[in-house]
């Protein structure tokens, strides 16, 4: 009687240990797989995410050092792709006075691509009342674009970056 019991007990302790190790490795393998899947999923979502969250796409911004308020009105709304266009850039000081005689440089890019603007836009005309005509803008792809202005007036320079999602 006791011999049979002992054999059974022996068998129970042997095989469960082997199974235990096996299950442990299966468990670890599964956990690793799930972790990998989660990481891949997250990476895919991040990569496919065209646009950073909470991007400020307003058309009116205070310049980086607070010197001016800059706002733009595009020629066509919504801003089209593959269409050469002009914008009106309006500049005023903090207390709402129009900025006159400013020297303005235009630049831009698609931050996710880094190819710069496909054209060389320029400010070509002062229209009065702080309004400047920006000519030769073109956006040749959908996505996140930035358009930057370097503004020099009265011996001071400031900079502003507008974001667009096209």
């Amino acid at each position: 009687m006791s011999t049979v019991n002992q054999t059974t007990t022996f068998a129970e302790t042997r095989q469960p240990r082997r199974f235990g190790r096996l299950f442990r490795w299966i468990g670890i393998g599964m956990a690793a797989l799930v972790l990998l899947a989660l990481v891949a999923f997250g990476a895919m979502v991040a990569w496919m995410n065209y646009v950073p969250a909470d991007l400020d796409i307003s058309t009116s911004l205070v310049t980086d050092n607070g010197l001016y308020r800059a706002s733009y009105t595009p020629q066509y709304e919504p801003v089209p792709i593959n269409q050469i266009q002009s914008w009106t850039l309006h500049l005023e000081t903090e207390d709402g006075r129009p900025v006159e005689g400013a020297q303005i440089r235009v630049d831009g890019d698609m931050p996710q691509h880094g190819h710069g603007l496909p054209t060389r836009p320029q400010v070509t005309e002062y229209l009065g009342n702080g309004d400047y005509r920006v000519e030769g803008l073109k956006f040749h792809m959908p996505g996140w674009w930035i358009v930057e202005f370097d503004i020099t007036a009265d011996g001071q320079t400031d900079h502003v970056t507008f974001n667009l999602i096209l």
Binding site: P16, G20, F23, I26, G27, V34, F41, H115, R120, G136
Partner: protein
């Protein structure tokens, strides 16, 4: 503390849970999604023919919308007398039955060109013409092959005489009276062979201007004709309409799962819409995509040469032969004219009817759509300049799906039937 059996059970339960989660995630990632997200629908709509705006006016060509100019332009387009050997017309390479191109790597006029003939359906939407954009209007483009020594091989004075001889009435009804050409040499032109060039330089400035004016008007008539050639709806366009109408039954009957998968890659992972965007599936801009150099041909730097050429072009938007005001010439005035990035940049053609138009690329280097997709997948280095491509790591099956999608872009030419054939010429040869 748990004993062995309890630990065992715990492992089984935890492993099973992980297995279920893992399978669930894998299923979500890998199972083909039958529906499109809102953002994807917006992308499909942007590629859809219904998003193509009405053909804009061409301020450089005041005859662009004149039906009489289009009728004359069609006759000129199909008339082989406007060549050095009497055998080459525009239609020699721009064959109506082949989507207005010729199906060969290089073009064969009186000689052989170094580049592939480009398709003409919807061409009037292009701000830049030729692979390198060396012309900025449709009419200025037509004048290029006419005086090219390997294409039509003729010269503008020869052509002025032909207009006076065979098309006087039609020409004058549109453009006004022809000047007296009787004292002019039979052949004279700036880009022609040495004799014709010498004859051209011997002409008085007013004579050269009068002949050039006729030449420019020829181009404007041809452009008025080419504006009639518009893209018609393809199966892809019908599919997008079904998507916009939320008609899943129609969607399923219009495109197969493989074609839909190819479309999903096209607007997603394969990055095609970086250049092939908008309803003509081209951004009309210039890109270096590492296309291999064609063996035996001279070095081709694309836009790097095309940009200064269009700036200096005798017939550009700012020229005296253009009907436009300077403020209409924004494309020319604000273009990028130089820079290392222009090296080996070429203009992506429309992908509509791409399946009908092998071989591909600017000298027909890639014979099939499969070769093109292999090229984009492997992203080889450019022979010169810097390729914009990155390897895509798509599988063979995915490349096949992309090819299947591209085939859905074929559609008819949208034009009145008379524009799709040679015209009936009353007083022919």
């Amino acid at each position: 503390m748990m004993n062995g059996q309890q630990k065992q059970k715990l492992f089984i339960i935890i492993s099973a849970a992980f297995l279920i989660i893992g399978l669930g995630l894998a299923g979500y990632l890998l199972w083909p999604r039958p529906t499109w997200s809102d953002e994807e629908v917006a992308q499909l709509r942007s590629l859809w023919l219904g998003s193509l705006p009405a053909l804009p006016n061409d301020p450089t060509n005041r005859y662009a919308t004149d039906p009489a100019a289009a009728a004359l332009g069609q006759k000129l387009f199909f008339d082989p007398r406007f060549s050095s050997n009497g055998e080459v017309s525009c239609s020699t390479c721009h064959k109506p039955e082949l989507s207005f191109q010729d199906g060969t790597p290089l073009a064969h006029g009186v000689g052989v060109t170094n580049r592939r003939t480009m398709p003409l359906v919807g061409v009037a939407y292009n701000p830049w013409l030729f692979w390198d954009g060396r012309k900025d209007s449709l009419w200025a483009q037509a004048l290029g092959p006419l005086e090219s020594p390997v294409e039509h091989g003729g010269d503008r004075t020869q052509y002025a005489h032909l207009i006076a001889q065979y098309y006087r009435a039609e020409y004058e009804a549109i453009f006004g009276p022809l000047p007296d050409l009787s004292g002019l040499p039979a052949q004279a032109g700036p880009g022609a062979g040495p004799e014709a060039k010498a004859a051209w330089e011997a002409m008085a400035p007013e004579e050269r201007e009068a002949v050039t004016r006729i030449f420019a008007n020829m181009g404007k008539a041809i452009a008025a004709y080419e504006r009639q050639l518009l893209p018609g709806a393809s199966r892809f366009d019908q599919y997008v309409e079904a998507v916009l109408a939320n008609d899943t039954e129609a969607m399923q009957s219009l495109m197969t799962p493989d074609e839909v998968a190819g479309l999903r890659l096209f607007i997603g992972e394969a990055n095609c819409t970086q250049c092939h965007n908008g309803p003509r599936l081209t951004d009309n801009h210039f890109h270096n995509t590492g296309v291999p150099a064609a063996p035996g041909l001279p070095e081709d730097v694309g836009r790097a040469l095309g940009a200064p050429q269009v700036v200096a072009d005798e017939f550009n938007c700012l020229s005296q032969y253009s009907d436009a005001e300077p403020e209409d010439c924004a494309e020319l005035r604000y273009m990028i004219t130089e820079g290392h990035e222009l090296t080996r940049q070429f203009k992506p053609p429309t992908l509509r009817n791409v399946d009908d138009r092998p071989p591909y690329m600017h000298a027909g280097q890639l014979a099939t759509l499969e070769e093109v997709l292999e090229h984009y997948n492997s992203a080889p280095e450019a022979p010169a300049g810097h390729s914009e491509l990155e390897p895509l790591n798509l599988s063979e099956a995915e490349l096949d799906q992309l090819a299947a999608f591209l085939r859905t872009l074929s559609g008819p030419v949208e034009a009145e039937p008379q524009w799709l054939e040679p015209p009936i010429v009353a007083n022919s040869r």
